[in-house]
Subunit: 87 residues, 2 copies
């Protein structure tokens, strides 16, 4: 399955979430990661994210399509190089 | 078509872009809007966005599926009420 994760997460938890997600997905925009996952990997990502976020403060949207060919995509502007705030 | 727009836009242009997009889509998360558009509306949105953003500074991703039923979705955490910074 092809997965897009978009998050709005408190700065205190941001690095942990990012480090975790980048093991499974590609960072494509500030707060957006994408990639191909198996169903098992996707379930694991959801489950681990639930532990990492504060459910009262953070918001994570996980979109997925069965195959990337079902997903149209247009991009405007410039992709920025990631600024890693990881110490 | 069902459209998801995710943006990373300089604060100077944020309100204009938001006001414009909210005429066509629903705000669902900080920097994410979603909704059903016709192909013509989608083309209009893309074209107007190109005028509103700074192509060297901003990044806008427009994902779309033919029908919302092709799009899986899981949500973690809490949706925040929108804080409108529009004067």
């Amino acid at each position: 399955m092809y997965v897009i994760i978009v998050y709005d997460i408190g700065i205190e938890r941001l690095n942990k979430v990012r480090i975790f997600l980048k093991q499974y997905l590609n960072w494509v925009q500030n707060s957006v990661l994408e990639g191909e996952l198996t169903k098992a990997e996707y379930m694991l990502v959801l489950s681990r994210l639930e532990e990492l976020i504060d459910p009262d403060e953070d918001s994570v949207f996980c979109y997925h399509v069965r195959d990337q060919k079902f997903l149209g995509f247009d991009e405007l502007g410039t992709r920025k190089a990631e600024i890693d705030t990881i110490i």
